[in-house]
């Protein structure tokens, strides 16, 4: 059995809300290997970000990772490790790029300081050395005149530049795994392409693993070797990227594929699937997708489908795996 | 009260005055005691006095506030002091100060004061008659705008007979001539005033660094407001028992009282009534209650507001005023506001200024009488809210209350309550003092909570309660006139016969009370808090500061600061 870089087993995250507990992430399991790029897709609110944040134990206030959950990163139990060990991990071996580079950066500190801070926290480098490394890194992420830019504040930079700063911050210590949570959503189309290009470059150069969260299956097709599809807090399909595009197993995935945005309408959300995601406080009994599914039958209303093996590396959470004849044309 | 009439036939011979003076020194001055009197009588001690307000100037013609007077009193001397009975007519009760004696002219139109030959200014210069002349000139110079000048109106001039004799010339014969000449002025050093600009006297150096003849001499007035006085060991009246007095400004009474309790201050006056119980329970503090000639009242406006000559629509009727007086239980008001410190006022003259055995009949608290009077005055219909009406007018009065005086506000509230019982409505109008005075001077008011501090000569009676005070800048705010009061006040102030004076004073007071131009509320007495180690004797009704030179601290009671001694630091 190969040692995985990351193993997530039965991850459950719940929020206590006025309407009762919201099971926002509900039994997610997957693995990642070193150097591998995995895409994590799904509609808004299905639990992608929460899953990612759980890997760093950064679930927002009010949310709790349920006791049975297990996350193993580089053979360490992330959920059980002491704060100190966890802090040594964050930003160093396992780092994260956030979606909104404006608010994710501190507005009153120079970008150079914010990048250098990572070095200062995790290494014994002096402030001067850390600064030099930060400027170097800013150059590597393609920021022109990095020495001057390092002394600027986030508001003085364009959105694309800010995201480059975020990337520099996440990658400066060459982590084993980088989580990029919709790194391009907030950016202009042309900039998006540049950022993705940069990420791919850096990944190839450093050999890091990348968990790429996105709505955009086009991005996934370009970057990832494997895809996880989430719906309503669960992984509903897992497949190598080619297989997923050729022969999607889950009706939800089919829907997503049908909605792949063309280049000129990237910002449109996935609204070709009728209906909306149910509330996390009240998942429907049976299949959580059944109300929006064209193929649903009685079994779907009563029996929750399990993640079933459809091929060697292909798993799908759908009763159609057992009863393919139910699929309508 | 002993009769003594300063007249051609019965003037006080100089020798007698000198004798009386010497006798007084015998019991007053420490240095004259034999050295064997014992440790306990050795002079010494430093006293910290908290002043509830800032003195602005110690230039005596400009002195107006009590805080200023309290400080000026120990540095400067009068020509003579009035006796403890405050009897302006009893010449024998006056004690010589800077004047060792005085002699009436045969026509009683002038008095010659002989200056004490031993007296020296604190800078060493001898005291000369020209000092007295110059002092009078300053006090009465219109450019100085001295608040004291009106009290000197009967003095025509002061002349120098020789360097040791100053002669006061009067405009009219009056029983208060001696009192007027000696009481109102502190004698100033002429040689220090040569360059003083009368129009800007406060700018002269003496204003902040007085040079006097008093038993304490001035040491410093610190930028933070502390004023230090040191015993004048070479004083012609003998050195005071204390070495030093330091005055400190504490504008908030509550804070000053805390300082008294912590021992940071030795003397605070007046205390608040609310703090008396705590003072009684503090072993190192003693409370001395001292009387005064001050009283507080609610003055009615007898004329229609706004300076018209027409009678006030409500208060113009004496029956209404008397009714309101009957409706007032001032005993209860005084207890509630001043506890046992204040004394219910009888009328326009405090008890201690009335002749002994005087029989004054106040308008007693009697609500039945009040109602009957209001009925008879036509205020018969009673509205739904219990307020009486007459021809569609409500029995409603507005009283001006100075915004700074909590006590007057409380008294007004109690009055409001008591009058409601007989169907009269009182509305309180709290005003900033300047605004209140403006309305007072324009006579735009129904009633006002005010007070008067009578001087021992009682001249205030004439300004406040007779037709002489009626003009626009007079003090007869009530616009009260009565031939009986006018005549009796006049003869009180003008007669040379004490028996006549006693009789007319009583008549005047009774007449005013009967006409009820005001509600007499309280005769003020003041509690002073004193550190127990200090023997302050009896505090004078003219002000606690009158006896500071007599205060003493027994040697065995002295604390650290009492042992600083006579040294001063630069």
């Amino acid at each position: 059995m190969t040692r995985h870089l990351l193993t997530v087993h039965d991850l459950r995250v719940a929020f206590a809300t006025e309407a009762g507990p919201a099971r926002a992430v509900d039994g997610v399991s997957f693995t990642m290997n070193a150097g591998e790029t995995v895409g994590l897709v799904g509609e808004s609110g299905c639990g992608k970000s929460l899953t990612a944040l759980s890997l760093l134990r950064l679930v927002p206030d009010g949310g709790r990772i349920a006791p049975g959950s297990r996350i193993t990163f580089e053979e360490q139990d992330v959920l059980a490790m002491p704060e100190r060990t966890l802090r040594a991990l964050r930003g160093h071996r396992l780092s994260m790029i956030f979606q909104e580079p404006m608010t994710a950066l501190n507005p009153v500190l120079t970008v150079g300081d914010q990048v250098a801070e990572v070095v200062r926290v995790h290494t014994t480098a002096s402030a001067g050395e850390a600064w030099t490394r930060a400027v170097d890194m800013l150059a590597q992420v393609g920021i022109p005149d990095p020495a001057a830019r390092a002394r600027q504040y986030p508001h003085e930079l364009s959105g694309g530049m800010r995201q480059r700063v975020m990337i520099a911050m996440a990658l400066i210590l060459e982590p084993a795994l980088v989580i990029a949570d919709e790194p391009t959503t907030a950016l202009d189309v042309t900039i998006q392409a540049q950022i993705l290009e940069l990420l791919r470059d850096l990944r190839d150069r450093t050999g890091m693993a990348l968990l790429l969260i996105t709505h955009d299956l086009g991005v996934v097709a370009e970057m990832a070797s494997r895809v996880l599809v989430m719906y309503a807090g669960e992984v509903v399909e897992e497949a190598p990227v080619a297989l997923l595009f050729d022969a999607p197993g889950h009706p939800y995935t089919e829907g997503l594929l049908a909605a792949v945005p063309t280049l000129d309408s990237t910002r449109e959300r996935l609204h070709t699937i009728p209906g909306t995601v149910p509330a996390a406080t009240a998942w429907p009994a049976g299949c959580r997708f059944r109300d929006r599914c064209a193929h649903a039958w009685e079994r779907c209303t009563t029996e929750p489908p399990a993640l079933a093996q459809l091929g060697p590396a292909h798993r799908v959470r759908c009763h159609l795996v057992q009863e393919p004849e139910r699929r309508r044309a | 009260m002993t009769a003594h009439r300063p007249s051609r036939t019965r003037r006080l011979p100089l020798a007698t005055a000198l004798l009386a003076g010497a006798a007084l020194w015998g019991c007053g001055g420490d240095t004259e005691r034999p050295a064997t009197a014992g440790e306990a009588d050795a002079p010494g001690g430093t006293v910290f006095v908290a002043l509830i307000g800032d003195p602005k100037t110690l230039m005596t013609p400009l002195v107006r506030s009590e805080h200023e007077q309290a400080v000026a009193e120990v540095v400067y001397d009068r020509l003579a002091d009035i006796g403890p009975a405050l009897d302006v007519m009893d010449e024998r009760s006056f004690t010589p100060r800077l004047a060792s004696g005085w002699q009436w002219a045969d026509d009683s139109m002038s008095i010659a004061f002989t200056l004490d030959a031993r007296a020296r200014w604190h800078d060493g210069a001898p005291v000369i008659a020209d000092d007295v002349r110059r002092t009078f000139a300053l006090y009465t110079d219109p450019r100085v705008l001295s608040g004291t000048a009106p009290l000197l109106a009967n003095i025509d001039s002061v002349s120098v007979r020789d360097s040791a004799t100053a002669v006061f010339w009067f405009k009219r014969r009056a029983p208060q001539q001696l009192y007027d000449a000696v009481h109102h002025m502190y004698v100033m050093p002429a040689h220090r005033l040569q360059d003083a600009d009368p129009a800007n006297l406060a700018a002269s150096p003496l204003s902040r660094a007085p040079v006097g003849t008093g038993r304490f001499r001035f040491v410093r007035w610190s930028a933070d407001g502390r004023i230090e006085m040191l015993a004048d060991t070479a004083n012609y009246r003998g050195r005071p028992s204390l070495d030093r007095v330091i005055y400190e400004v504490v504008p908030e009474t509550g804070s000053a009282i805390v300082k008294l309790f912590t021992g940071e201050s030795d003397f605070v006056a007046p205390l608040m009534v609310q703090s008396l119980e705590q003072a009684a329970n503090t072993p190192q503090v003693r409370v001395h209650v001292y009387p005064s000639l001050r009283y507080q009242l609610m003055t009615f406006n007898l004329r229609a507001p706004g300076g018209s000559r027409a009678p006030h629509p409500i208060l113009g009727d004496v029956r209404v005023r008397r009714a309101l007086a009957h409706a007032t239980d001032n005993e209860r008001i005084v207890r509630a506001v001043f506890d046992t410190i204040g004394q219910p006022a009888l009328g326009p003259v405090p008890r201690r200024a009335l002749p002994e055995g005087a029989t004054i009949r106040p308008l007693a608290f009697d609500t039945a009488a009040a109602r009957a009077l209001l009925d008879s005055a036509g205020w018969t219909t009673v509205g739904a809210d219990g307020v009486r009406m007459k021809d569609g007018t409500r029995l409603r009065l507005e009283v001006l209350v100075p915004g700074t005086s909590e006590n007057r506000n409380r008294m007004a509230v109690l009055l409001q309550d008591q009058w409601r019982a007989v169907g009269a409505e009182l509305v309180l109008q709290r005003l900033e003092v300047n605004a209140l005075v403006e309305r007072l001077e324009a006579r735009r008011f129904d009633a006002v909570m005010n007070g008067w501090n009578l001087s021992p000569g009682l001249v205030g009676l004439r300004q406040v309660w007779t037709s002489l005070g009626l003009d626009a800048d007079g003090s007869n705010y009530a616009a009260y006139t009565s031939p009986v009061a006018d005549a009796n006040v006049d003869s009180t102030l003008l007669t040379f016969d004490p028996v006549v004076r006693d009789r007319t004073l009583q008549r005047a007071v009774q007449a005013i009370i009967d006409d009820a131009p005001a509600i007499w509320l309280v005769e003020d007495r003041f509690p002073a808090g004193v550190h127990a180690r200090i023997d302050v004797g009896t505090l004078s009704p003219l002000g606690w500061w009158h006896g500071v030179a007599e205060w003493r601290i027994p040697a065995d009671q002295r604390i650290d600061r009492d042992r600083i001694g006579l040294r001063t630091t630069p």
């Binding site: 994710a104 | 300047n434 005075v437 007070g451």
Partner: protein
């Protein structure tokens, strides 16, 4: 944008600010000049309970002081005097206005300045501490305390502290700048004496100030605490202290923004503090002077006060620039 251009515009902006400031000071002084003279009473008005000074004498005195001239004439004369550096004569203190100012102004500046600094520092620390623990028992206790301090009339608070520390505990002297026998104390005791007398007025103002600033700082910190960059700081592996620093640094911006607004309330606090603790300063003296219709002192005090306020707001602007790069530019 060329460097010379921005330099010129900056110089123009500075000039405009100075002109504005001068205008504010002049306006305030003029308003004080006119309003006070229109108010009832004058420096030689009859006092309540006192026999009046004869009208002719008063009129003569007013003529001497040119107080009988038309308002416009008086105003022009006053402007001329001020322009020549002559602030006039204080009828309350019976001394030149400048003499009084030289005495009272430094005292108030020292007291207020130090109290303002401790208030800011204390409030910022306390509020920040609360902001990261919102809802905890400690936070609630502190909030309740600051609310009480905040709503308590200044006079009462001063009296309360006086009773407690001077009377009850006898730890501190009650009032004054120094003890009455200060001049006779040895040098070291004099230093101690001065410091001891400073404590109560300073403490009163500081408690007031801290309670105001802490409340602002708390809500500002709470807000900053929810900002995404706080999560970024955690994801970088910063220890909790470092994370708090990130939030605190940003939360200062709105707090400094209100510091200018707090200033006047501290001034009004100073009036009572100066009275209760017999701290002969600007506030107490000015209130006295208004009551005594000391025209020239009050006008001078208004000039000084509004100049102080303007300088204060310039200082706040400067601090704000330091704290927030976004307003620099």
């Amino acid at each position: 944008m060329s460097a010379s251009e921005s330099g010129a515009s900056r110089r123009w902006r500075a000039l405009r600010r100075i002109l504005q400031a001068l205008f504010v000071v002049w306006g305030a002084a003029t308003a004080a000049f006119i309003l006070l003279r229109l108010a009832p009473g004058d420096p030689y008005a009859t006092q309540i309970d006192e026999l009046p000074i004869p009208a002719e004498a008063r009129a003569a005195w007013r003529a001497e002081r040119a107080l009988d001239a038309p308002l416009a004439t008086q105003y022009v004369r006053w402007l001329g005097n001020v322009a020549r550096g002559n602030l006039g004569w204080s009828t309350l203190a019976e001394r030149p206005v400048a003499d009084v100012l030289v005495n009272v102004l430094p005292r108030t500046l020292a007291l207020m300045g130090i109290a303002l600094l401790t208030s800011l520092a204390g409030g910022m620390l306390l509020g920040a501490w609360q902001g990261t623990r919102a809802g905890s028992t400690g936070d609630q206790a502190v909030s309740a305390t600051t609310l009480v301090l905040y709503s308590l009339p200044e006079f009462w608070l001063a009296m309360l502290l006086l009773q407690l520390f001077a009377h009850g505990l006898d730890w501190l002297p009650a009032t004054g700048l120094v003890s009455a026998d200060y001049d006779y104390l040895p040098f070291r005791a004099q230093v101690r004496d001065r410091l001891a007398h400073f404590v109560l007025p300073w403490l009163t103002l500081s408690l007031l100030g801290v309670s105001v600033f802490a409340r602002f700082q708390r809500s500002s910190m709470l807000e900053a605490w929810r900002e995404p960059f706080v999560r970024t700081a955690r994801a970088k592996g910063l220890a909790e202290r470092g994370v708090r620093w990130h939030a605190w640094r940003t939360s200062l911006v709105p707090v400094l923004g209100v510091a200018g607004l707090v200033f006047p309330s501290l001034v009004s606090g100073a009036v009572f503090v100066e009275r209760v603790f017999a701290w002969p300063g600007m506030g107490y003296t000015t209130v006295q002077a208004v009551g005594a219709r000391d025209y020239e002192f009050v006008t001078a005090a208004v000039v000084t006060g509004s100049a102080m306020t303007v300088i204060g707001s310039l200082l706040v602007d400067g601090l704000l620039r330091l704290a927030d790069p976004r307003v620099r530019a």
